[in-house]
Symmetry: C2
Subunit: 194 residues, 2 copies
């Protein structure tokens, strides 16, 4: 499969309609970042571009749609998704592209599923998508430069640092922390300390 | 059962021998703090004093003893205890007082077990011991005053804040975070937001 089969003007139009122009522009920057990182870390570049292109397709401009879409696509709603709808959109996106585009590549689907929370034992593609979303050039939050400086030196260290910063941010803002984020943080602490 | 049956010069001598004078002095401050908090929150004062008195009895001055003691007292060593021996000492202390002092009160045992990590759905006694250990007058770390100011206003908010500060501290210092701490933090976020 080739990224150009998915990244075209018809799909762009639909994506802009669903997620809005601002998030679409972010998406394109994630595609570009993921392409470079995939090249550097020698994982499938076409898969990286496709996963990046669709990673936020479950984040509808109309926030109320998330529950009806979850029902439409038969998504299992776990308890913690109710506590934090932010957790849901990656899982929903994976359902959408599997159903609407026939994408069955498990590595692409997992990269999209876990792009917000991370998880233990991620594949290189999963790490590339997680980190690209975190550091794409449009991001300007406190701490982003620390992670940018790590990405070509040590991907696990970058991932560990991004997970820590994300958890800290959720703490500061009184937001639910996904179980996968916490498990991933401990997992990559041990990987990075090795 | 009365606290004076346990808090006496013989046990003081043994405790000082095992955990050292500095930690023994901390222990006495936790007993005093827990007594006040238990009175205020109307939980069993004798239980609070006993739990506080023994809470660190598994924290041996000779750190290497923890594994042989764990074996001697038949403690189940969970995976994460190996990652962070800090998690073990509360569980070991509960085993010691059950075995050596015949203390079977489940609320006292749980207060000691979870005094470091916290857990979801804690009893008032468990909260009193956790918080007393955290804010006893000898503590002077950054953020302790924020929690001290909350303890007589809202115990769950104090607990939630202490859990957040503890997790943040573990993140800053690259230390493993106990599963119970993370689960408790999310649980008391929801309690406190109610």
């Amino acid at each position: 499969m080739k990224a150009r089969d998915y990244i075209n003007s018809d799909n762009n139009k639909l994506l802009i309609e669903n997620i809005g122009e601002k998030r679409f522009n972010h998406t394109i920057r994630v595609v570009e970042t993921a392409e470079k990182l995939a090249k550097f870390y020698e994982t499938n570049i076409e898969s990286a571009k496709i996963a990046a292109y669709f990673h936020d397709c479950g984040k509808f401009l109309d926030k109320s749609l998330i529950w009806s879409k979850a029902e439409k696509y038969g998504l299992d709603i776990e308890d913690e998704m109710r506590q934090s709808p932010q957790i849901i959109h990656g899982f929903l996106a994976a359902k959408i592209i599997e159903n609407d585009y026939g994408i069955e590549d498990i590595d692409i689907l997992n990269s999209i599923r876990y792009h917000t929370t991370g998880r233990t034992n991620m594949s290189t593609l999963e790490k590339v998508i997680y980190i690209s979303d975190y550091i794409e050039p449009g991001r300007s939050f406190e701490g982003v430069e620390i992670v940018r400086d790590m990405i070509y030196k040590n991907l696990d260290m970058a991932l560990y640092t991004a997970l820590n910063q994300t958890i800290n941010n959720l703490i500061v803002n009184d937001i639910y922390i996904a179980k996968n984020s916490f498990l991933a943080r401990n997992y990559y602490l041990l990987e990075y300390k090795r």
